[in-house]
Amino acid sequence: MAQILQYLANGLVFSSIIILGSIGLSLVYSIADFANFAHGDTMTLGAYGAFVAFGVFGGLGGTVLGLPIGFFLALAVGMALAAIVAVLTHILVYKPLDTDSIGLLITSIGVAFVYRAVLQASFGTDFLQYDIRRSGPIPLLLDTLDVAVTQRDVAIIVSAAVLVAGLHLLLQRTTLGRKMRATADNPDLARVSGIRTDRVILVMWVVGSALAAAGGVFLALYSQLDPRIGFNILLVVFAAVILGGIGSVYGAMLGGLLIGMLHELTPLLSDVGLPISNAYAPAVAFVIMVAVLLVRPRGIAGDMT
């Protein structure tokens, strides 16, 4: 039992990171209408931005959820940086293009290479770490539930939840969400209705990349930082988005949760008598994903929006 709880706890942390990545990707997917292969590297970019900023603010006193206040400032800087870069990329690269969604996809591969090249040139390829002390499992939970969860894990989950809730409010409480969906559905008609689609798209890039950056920062906090972390996780993030149903932000959350959990729960299979090695964990996740798609060909939230 404690074992399962432990796996679930691990899964929750990992899912939080994936969810942040997949929401942003899903936003871009539905509104700019292409699979953005630079999204992973946007995550990395945010993580490096925060790394540099943490070098400056790191010393700021006080802690929240076991993390220094300076870290959250750095997080904000990373998010802002990613947003700025994404907006610039949109203006300089994507917007002037006269091509279809696959053409944009290919372009985004080029963009990803450029981001990565800049990061690799500036920081090298070796891994780095935010200089924050690890404190080990929270004794209370370890004693009562026999589940090891660190403050850092809690911080990741809580921050992700806050960001997701913020996005939810943004989409539900303002007309922005509706405008975004309208723009995604039919950009011409959106303009005819008076929606300033240019602005909607800019906002989408800002929100999507900032969330991606947050995902990247937490990812780096969780493991470590190198120029490939975002790219390495991109496939999983894509799987989450598709599994959830393209274009559905809430689907992306669900997909992220599911994929993150699947990833961490594979050892359970052996416990229940299916001797499948951990090496097949990604394979198991993919097979389950395909199976889900066969039952719901448009993703879990496919027709719900």
């Binding site: 074992q3 432990q6 796996y7 691990n10 990992f14 990171i17 690799q120 040139a121 500036s122 920081f123 090298g124 390829t125 070796d126 891994f127 770490q129 002390r133 690890r134 404190s135 080990g136 499992p137 370890l142 090891a148 660190t150 850092r152 894990d153 990812l219 969780y222 493991s223 470590q224 190198d226 490939r228 972390i229 390495n232 996780i233 990833h263 961490e264 729960l265 594979t266 050892p267 052996s270 090695s277 951990n278 090496a279 964990a281 990604p282």
Partner: protein, 400 residues
């Protein structure tokens, strides 16, 4: 910026002319090729290799090679065999280098050897590949010892320390697989967990969780630094660092690993690393030079790259002419123990320049005695390190 400037006198392939000994004047430039993983999944190794290479080039060119200079034409293998073969094609067939240093991944080195180097007049020296498979290619030389010796060393450590059962986590590539297999073969105790993991994952908590589910006395990690760093942190977060004794191979030891691990969490861990005695003068000099330039300690991998370049230069110095066959004839000799021990390029160069024959020299590098055998493998000297008070302390030697 901390980045690796790759100039270091590296030959610029762009002009296509800087191949072999170019002029007949006093200062000739000897251009050899180097394939390295500058991008892709192994690029962290590549970066360290570049740093080692750079120091080696400076050390060599401050003394000179056969009255000239050594230049290295550099190509990236993108950590893939396709990229490696293309890189080697460029160097071997286009730039016609007689000696090729390359590369990191064992599979990539093999691919280069099979499809480009074999049957040509070119010597290949791998700077980082440890797979036992390379032993089957006697013409494919390498600097690090085959992983087998290391695996045996780890298992005898485990046996000595009285561990009756072990959990083994290995990285799912040629290196991890072969070292892992060798370990299992050599180990007397029971293997209660034996699983590969993929490189570059963001989380290894399922691996750690599974290991902690076993009651193994020892945990053995055959993996790379970033992966091990993640695992050790996750183990700390799960509060299981003290559950078993930890052991690891060479690639889990590194300053970064310690830096990123919580204070004290790795204490007691033992790692087996092929190297010269840490107090050896040449090694100390290498370390301080490296630290001065790049602000961090070198790893054994940078040391191999350094030695690969030095051995190449010594071969050029010792050979009659700048061709693959001539180099092949002498390259083993300059490292063999028959001659007089030289611990720096300068010393070795001196012996050769004073009319010494190739076998009069025994270059003992910053990575170990080298002593290339007929299969092109070095005789590794293995050193055991133990983490004490969050620092690596030497804890004895094992002959490979």
């Amino acid at each position: 910026s901390g980045g690796a400037p790759e100039d270091g006198g590296g030959g610029d392939g762009g002009d296509g002319e800087s191949t072999d000994a170019s002029t007949d004047s006093g200062s000739e430039t000897y251009t050899i090729g180097m394939v390295d993983s500058l991008s892709g999944s192994l690029s962290a190794f590549g970066q360290r290799n570049q740093r080692g290479k750079e120091i080696a080039l400076d050390d060599i060119n401050s003394v000179g090679v056969s009255g000239g200079e050594l230049a290295i034409s550099q190509q990236d293998d993108q950590s893939t065999s396709q990229g490696g073969v293309s890189a080697a094609q460029t160097l071997v067939n286009q730039e016609e280098v007689p000696l090729l240093i390359g590369t990191v991944g064992s599979g990539v080195s093999t691919a280069i050897h099979e499809s480009v180097v074999q049957n040509t007049d070119v010597v290949q020296i791998s700077q980082n590949s440890t797979s036992p498979n390379l032993t089957n290619f006697p013409d494919l030389l390498r600097m690090p010892p085959a992983g087998k010796a290391q695996a045996e060393a780890i298992s005898s450590l485990l046996n000595e320390d009285g561990n009756e059962s072990a959990a083994l986590a290995w990285i799912n590539n040629d290196y991890g697989q072969s070292v892992g297999e060798a370990f299992i073969e050599a180990y007397d105790g029971e293997i209660v967990y034996n699983e590969p993991h993929d490189q570059g994952q963001s989380s290894y908590s399922s691996t750690i969780s599974s290991m902690s589910d076993t009651d193994a006395d020892a945990w053995v990690f055959i993996t790379y630094q970033p992966e091990f760093a993640t695992m050790s942190q996750e183990a700390f977060d799960l509060g299981v660092t003290d559950q078993a004794a930890w052991y690891g191979g060479d690639s889990v030891k590194g300053p970064k690993v310690l830096e990123s691990a919580p204070e004290g969490s790795l204490d007691g861990m033992k790692a087996v690393v092929p190297s010269v005695p840490q107090d050896a003068e040449n090694y100390q000099a290498f370390v301080s030079e490296f630290e001065e330039r790049f602000g961090e300690e070198p790893t054994s991998w940078s040391a191999y790259a350094y030695d690969a370049v030095v051995v190449s230069a010594l071969a050029i110095e010792a050979a009659d002419e700048f061709t693959g066959s001539a180099l092949m004839e002498v390259v083993r000799d300059v490292t063999r123990p028959e001659g007089e021990e030289a611990t720096t390029y300068e010393e070795a160069h001196e012996i050769l320049a004073n009319g010494g024959s190739p076998s009069d020299v025994d270059y003992t590098g910053v990575s170990g005695p080298i002593d290339l055998d007929e299969n092109g493998d070095p005789v590794g000297l293995l050193q055991v390190f133990e983490v004490v008070d969050h620092a690596y302390e030497p804890a004895g030697f094992i002959e490979g």
